[in-house]
C-alpha cells in the first residue's frame, strides 16, 4: 500500500469487506463482456484486466461503448455475455449497491437537497457506519479535497470545481476497491482541468487506489493513466501505455485516432537487412525499420508522426549504407498553422501526396520559419516510421 494519510488507514475496511489485492496484483478481470441494446452491439466482447493500484483510462470517440462498459462495472447495466471478476468474485449480475465499487458521475450527480457534508456522508450512512465515525471520515474527506468551510453549503452554492471535489469526496468516502470516473473533468475549463488532473493523479498515488477513468480527451488519458484502453465500435482496439499507444499504434485506426499522423499507403518491395523498402503511391519508396511482428505481403501503410519530420531548405547529407539512412521528400509549403509552441506546416510533395510536419518554435524570432510556397526538404529516419497492416 502506498504512503498512508495521517489518521487514515486506507488498506483496512474497504466498503466490500474483502481484503483488497496488493498493488500490482490483478484486481479486476473482464472476460468477453458484451452488451446489446436492441440491434446495437454497444460493447462487443471486451476482455481486460486491471491491476490493483493502477490508473487505467478507457479512451474512445463518443458512442464507442466506453461509458456502457463503465456502467457495467458500476452495475447500472448487466452484461449479456461474459464475466466481471472483482478480486476473484463474479459481480456481473450484482446490483450497484452490492459492489465495493463507487463511481464519480460525469455531471457529478450531487444530491441537490443535501449539504456538502450530507452528500459525502450519504454512502457512509447507508453502510450503517456509527455517527462519530461518519463525522471523522467526512472531515477527512473534506480535508482531502480541500473543501474546508464549505460543509454546510448546498451544491447549487458551489462553483464547478468545488462540485467536482464534492463528487470525488463522496465517491471516495466509502473507500471502494475500485473508483470509476466518467469524464470527471469534462465540465471544467482548461486551466482548472489541468490542475485537477495533477491533483487526481497525486490523490490516486497517495491512496494507492485503483482508478478507471472514461474519457474522450486523449491528452487527459495520456497525462493521467498508467495504461490506456482505446475502444472503437464496442471493441478494445489496443491496450497499452501512453507512450506505446502513441509511438507504436497497432492498427491504422488507433494511429489515426491518437494524435496526428501522416499515412502513406503502399506495398512492401524489398528487404535490406533490418530495413524494409516500401513503395508508396504518394511518397515514393520509403525506407523503414522492420517491425517486430512480421509483416505479411499485401497492402501496408507507413505512418509518421508530424513532429518526427524535420524540414530544411536543402537536402541533408545522406551517407548511404549508414544506420541513419534517411528518407527525404521534396515539396513546397502549402499551409502554415502557427500554434504558439509549435508550427504545423503542410507540405505538398512533388510525388503528389500531402505531408504534415510539426516544428518546435525554439527561437522567438522567426528567422527559421518557412513561408508559403517555399521549396523545402522533409526528412525522417527509418526508426520514425511505423508500419501498419491495412
Amino acid at each position: 500500500m502506498a504512503e498512508e494519510l495521517p489518521g487514515m488507514n486506507v488498506a483496512a475496511e474497504t466498503a466490500g469487506g474483502d481484503a483488497c489485492p496488493a498493488t500490482g496484483q490483478p484486481l479486476l478481470l473482464i472476460e468477453g463482456v458484451a452488451k446489446t441494446f436492441g440491434m446495437f452491439r454497444a460493447v462487443d466482447g471486451v476482455s481486460l484486466d486491471i491491476k490493483a493500484g493502477e490508473f487505467f483510462a478507457l479512451l474512445g470517440p463518443s458512442g464507442c461503448g466506453k461509458t456502457t462498459l463503465l456502467r457495467m462495472l458500476a452495475g447500472f447495466e448487466a452484461p449479456d455475455e461474459g464475466r466481471i471478476l472483482l478480486g476473484g468474485k463474479d459481480i456481473a449480475q450484482a446490483l450497484p449497491h452490492e459492489r465495493p465499487i463507487n463511481m464519480m458521475f460525469q455531471n457529478y450527480a450531487l444530491f441537490p437537497h443535501l449539504s456538502v457534508r450530507d452528500n459525502i456522508a450519504f454512502g457512509l450512512k447507508r453502510a450503517g457506519m456509527p455517527r462519530a465515525d461518519i463525522a471523522t471520515r467526512v472531515a477527512e474527506m473534506v480535508a482531502l479535497v480541500k473543501l474546508e468551510g464549505l460543509e454546510k453549503r448546498k451544491p447549487d452554492q458551489l462553483s464547478g470545481g468545488q462540485r467536482q471535489r464534492v463528487a470525488l469526496a463522496r465517491a471516495l468516502a466509502r473507500r471502494p476497491q475500485l473508483l470509476l470516473l466518467d469524464e470527471p473533468l469534462a465540465a471544467l475549463d482548461k486551466k482548472l482541468r489541468e490542475s485537477t488532473q495533477a491533483e487526481l493523479m497525486e490523490l490516486q498515488r497517495r491512496l494507492g487506489m485503483t482508478f478507471i477513468i472514461v474519457t474522450h480527451d486523449q491528452e487527459e488519458a495520456m497525462t493521467m493513466a498508467d495504461r490506456i484502453g482505446v475502444m472503437n465500435a464496442g471493441k478494445l482496439a489496443q491496450v497499452a501505455s501512453p507512450r506505446e499507444l502513441y509511438e507504436a499504434p497497432r492498427s491504422r485506426w488507433v494511429a489515426e485516432f491518437v494524435g496526428d499522423i501522416n499515412l502513406f499507403d503502399g506495398e512492401s518491395k524489398l528487404r535490406d537487412g533490418r530495413r524494409l523498402v516500401i513503395g508508396t503511391r504518394d511518397a515514393g519508396a520509403l525506407v523503414v525499420t522492420e517491425p517486430r511482428e512480421a509483416v505479411g505481403a499485401g497492402k501496408l501503410a507507413v505512418a509518421i508522426r508530424p513532429e518526427k519530420i524535420k524540414l530544411s531548405r536543402r537536402a541533408p547529407v545522406n551517407e548511404a549504407g549508414r544506420e541513419t539512412a534517411i528518407n527525404t521528400l521534396e515539396g513546397v509549403i502549402a499551409d502554415i498553422c502557427y500554434l504558439g509552441g509549435t508550427t504545423t506546416y503542410k507540405v505538398k510533395l512533388d510525388t503528389g501526396g500531402m505531408l504534415q510536419a510539426s516544428v518546435a518554435n525554439s527561437a522567438r524570432l522567426d528567422v527559421d520559419a518557412y513561408s508559403l510556397n517555399q521549396h523545402v526538404v522533409a526528412w525522417f529516419t527509418p526508426d520514425d516510421c511505423v508500419v501498419l497492416q491495412s
Binding site: 452495475g75 446490483l95 455531471n107 450530507d118 461518519i134 463525522a135 463522496r170
Partner: protein, 270 residues
Amino acid sequence: MRKVSRLSRFNIASLALGLAFLYLPILILVLYSFNASRLVTVWGGWSLRWYHELFNDRAMIEAAWMSLRVAVASATIATLLGTLAAVALSRGERFRGRTLFSGMLYAPLVMPEVITGLSLLLLFVALNVERGFWTVTIAHTTLTMCFVTVVVQSRLGSLDRSLEEAAMDLGCNPVGAFVVVTLPLIAPAIVAGWMLAFTLSLDDLVIASFTTGPGSATLPIRIYSEVRLGVKPEINAICTLVIALIAVVIVIASLASKLSSSQGESAAPL
C-alpha cells in the same frame, strides 16, 4: 441577496390590469358578503349578518362539509395513484403498450366533464352502487388523477436519472434510492398535485351532480341550486369562506415546499 430590479411604469400598469381582471370579481363578491342589505346589488353598509345566517343554514354547512371530505379523500387517492403512474411512466422499463397507457391516462384531461360524469353514472347504476360520498370521491379521483400525473411526471422528467444511480452506487437499493433521493426532490410537485386535485374537486359541479345521490349534495351543487332561486347574500358569505380556505391551503403548501427544498435530509447535525 438578489437585486430586485425596479419595475417600469408599463410593467406596473400591465400587472395592475392583469390582477384586476383576475381578482376584481372576487373582490366584489367578498365585499358584498359583508353587505347589510338583503339586495345583492345594493350596498347597505357593513355587516356580518349573512355569515351568521350561513352558520344557521344546516343544509349549506352539510354541503360544505361533504365537499371538504370529498376533496380531501379524492385528492389524497388521486395523488397516490397519480404519483405511482408518473413513476411508472417515467422510470419504469419500456413496457409494451406504454404509449397507449400514457395516452389513456391523459384522456380525462381533455374529456368533456359531461361525458366523464355520465359514463360514471352509468357504471354506478349498472353496478347498482348506492350513490353518495364514495361515488363522488371515486369520480373526482378519476378526474384529478391525470392532473397529478402530469405535474409529477414533468418534475420527474426534469430530474437527473443519475441522481438515483448515484444513490444506488452509494449503497441504496432501488426502492431506497427512490425514497431517500427522488421522493424529497419531487415532494413539491406531489404537494402541488394534491393542491390541484383538491381545488378541482372542491370546484367541480358537473361530475358531482351526475354521481352524487340524494342527501349528499356538494357545495357547488348546493350553491347552484340556491342561485337558481335567486342570489342570496349568504352565497357570497360561503364563497368568501371557500376563498379564504383555499388561500390558506396555498400559503401552507408553498411554505412547505419552500421548507422541503431548503432543508436537507437531516436538519440535525450528523
